[in-house]
Symmetry: C2
């Protein structure tokens, strides 16, 4: 139990809050900031002046307001100058992007990845290569304030060390350390679980804006979960919380990559769907999943049955999570987006049967607003976290 | 996103923090408070003076310190003067207590309750009757600062309205409103789910002190859950979160009072154990559960098998929760205490098989330090929440 903050801590906090407003909300008038932050005009002016001097925002006259009187200046994020690097390491692909303050994707590279092979130096090398190309396109006064990585597996929160990833086929690798070395930029690299970052992204800029109780389910080959409860990301003691894909829903069921049986991931993952549809081994990945959903849509009974079966287990898993978390929204991302769209009726029916009425009465089931960029955007938001928490300190740390 | 607090908000916050220190930690020297709160001596002295003037604490010379020099004054909670009322409404019993600041149980009444019958006016009337008797024993300057109720069911957080309680056989009753009316004390009554309050109690004063990620499982007839994640109680959108007893662990399994099948509560509740042991219908309640555990301990094979079966489902449920929450500690309270003590090997084995290594590596499985008072103590802590958040404001509200 700590005592309250000092005046200087409050000022730093307020600088971060103001910057977060324009980062998430876009250009905002001083008058609007005054209202939203509950501070007086002179304080807002002083905070804005500090952020402007630091090169994080700029003030401009607004376009025609249509109102009489002197218009309130608009505060804009310096999106093309201040940026982060965002990386997404998935089962089938690698993505690297340069994302400006305000969330603008300024530059982007993507490459397919072979499944089941994860050689740390190769992955890190490719991401560093993408970065070199992206940095060539930056202006002389641009500032990189951090880097974030979305990783499909369990990551130790303290040091970005990969503990497990059955679906990437890797465990026990110092991802953050190696990537920091390979980038050689002197900026902090933060690594997070992709589903956790997806949850943060959809809450910040997606379908879950303003939701304090949100679950994001991410299907890649397996199923990851990111849970926000009471406005906070569920991390757990070591940072491995949210592994809802390894909740056993079918005791004694299909074997799972984790060594257990009947995990949600084993019953609703890509392989479960493709096997149930009699299509395993021919094609894999998102296209194969989409093909099953399309076939079901065209009346293919085997595909319909497969989708219904998987949708039923998915619904049971969601019902359990609804009873446990009483969320406002559950978002189906990655490959689960296709499955949910194809089996929404089964999912909803199962939730209605197995979730307590009080826990589900205000529930919304949705797909991501950010589409396939959800986890990448989450990586960018993770990278921005420092500069939004304490803007001037974060700039000082990267030598800007 | 709000701006930082004002000076006056900080002072009020600090008064609450100081009071919380002595409430939870007992008599504490000013020097110790200075260190723990990170404030200077004069600030601590001013805060203590305010709390003393309000009659919430008093300062005393310490007993012999054995050190040279002037000893630091010790700040004590006014335990016999400032108190709350705590009520526990369980399936089989009603408990009412008067609990002094600092957590001292000053007075206590308990009565057995008939199962399956819940008549709101009767329950409220009995609790009000206990209260009248307890108030007769209070001194003229004593102050009641609140009342808290632990209830075995789902309670709407906004107004203490009972939404569901299959095991008490009641739903849709305005518990808080009726109890406030029956008590007629003009103090706020807060109602919470018993397992949620058990979690808070064990974190505040029990086996989970200093744990930020804790799960408390409470067995009554059914199974409730209280989850603290990142230091915060999981409430969910409407306050119904933590219903882990209605997580389906055995799809198509035993029917549950909620209408679903194979819920954790249906597979590990009192009835599941007694039926598996061939003892359902003869005796019920904690004694009957204890008798099965005792029989197993004496070598009764049917009882051993029953306990192993129930322990296995309990272990699967815990493994799921460990994957979802990555907790530091899981606490088995109420009737689950007996079951866990009788089937710890099965529970541990199942957790080892079905929970991810990273999620379980620092896990402790424990029974409550507060024993059968866990939920009652939680109700008291709920009642103290207001005075600990803003001591002077809370006193003003109760007219003290």
């Amino acid at each position: 139990m700590r005592a309250g903050p000092s005046q200087e801590e409050i000022r730093r906090h307020n600088l971060g809050v103001l910057l977060r407003h324009v980062h998430l909300g876009g250009p905002t008038s001083r008058a609007e900031l005054t209202t939203r932050m509950g501070l007086n005009r002179s304080t807002i002016m002083a905070l804005t002046a500090d952020l402007t001097a630091a090169g994080l925002v700029r003030e401009e006259l607004p376009r025609e307001t249509g109102r009489a009187g002197r218009p309130s200046l608009v505060v804009r994020p310096e999106s093309s100058r201040v940026y982060v690097l965002a990386f997404d390491i998935g089962v089938d692909r690698l993505v690297a992007a340069r994302v400006g303050l305000g969330g603008v994707i300024l530059d982007r590279y993507e490459a397919a990845r072979p499944r089941g092979v994860f050689v740390l130096p190769d992955v890190v090398g490719r991401l560093a290569g993408f970065t070199t190309r992206m940095l060539r396109a930056t202006g002389p006064d641009s500032v990189c304030v951090g880097a974030g990585v979305a990783f499909s597996g369990g990551v130790r929160s303290s040091d970005g060390f990969v503990r497990f990833s059955p679906n990437l086929g890797v465990a026990g690798v110092p991802l953050r350390e190696e990537l920091e070395r390979a980038l050689g930029l002197g900026v902090p690299v933060a690594v997070g679980n992709d589903a956790n970052l997806g949850a943060l992204a959809e809450q910040a800029r997606g379908v879950g804006v303003d939701c304090r109780d949100l679950i994001y389910l991410h299907g890649d080959v397996g199923v990851g979960g990111g849970v926000i409860t009471g406005g906070q990301l569920l991390g757990g003691h070591g940072g491995y919380g949210g592994e809802v894909g390894h909740m056993v829903v079918n005791e004694g069921g299909r074997p799972c990559g984790c060594g257990s049986q009947g995990c949600l991931e084993a019953e609703v993952g890509e392989r479960a769907l493709l096997e149930a549809a009699g299509r395993f081994g021919t094609r894999i990945g998102r296209d194969a999943v989409r093909a099953v959903v399309d076939a079901a849509d065209r009346g293919d009974i085997v595909a319909q049955d497969a989708l219904a079966r998987v949708g039923d287990w998915l619904g049971l898993g969601v019902a359990n999570l609804v009873n446990i978390f009483n969320p406002e929204i559950v978002i189906f991302g990655g490959m689960l987006r296709e499955i949910y769209l194809g089996a929404a009726a089964q999912v909803r029916s199962r939730v209605a049967t197995d979730a307590l009425r009080a826990c589900r009465e205000n529930l919304r089931l949705r797909t991501p607003l950010l589409g396939d960029d959800t986890t990448l955007v989450g990586a960018a938001e993770l990278a921005f976290a420092q500069v939004l928490a304490d803007p001037l300190d974060a700039l000082a740390r990267v030598g800007a």
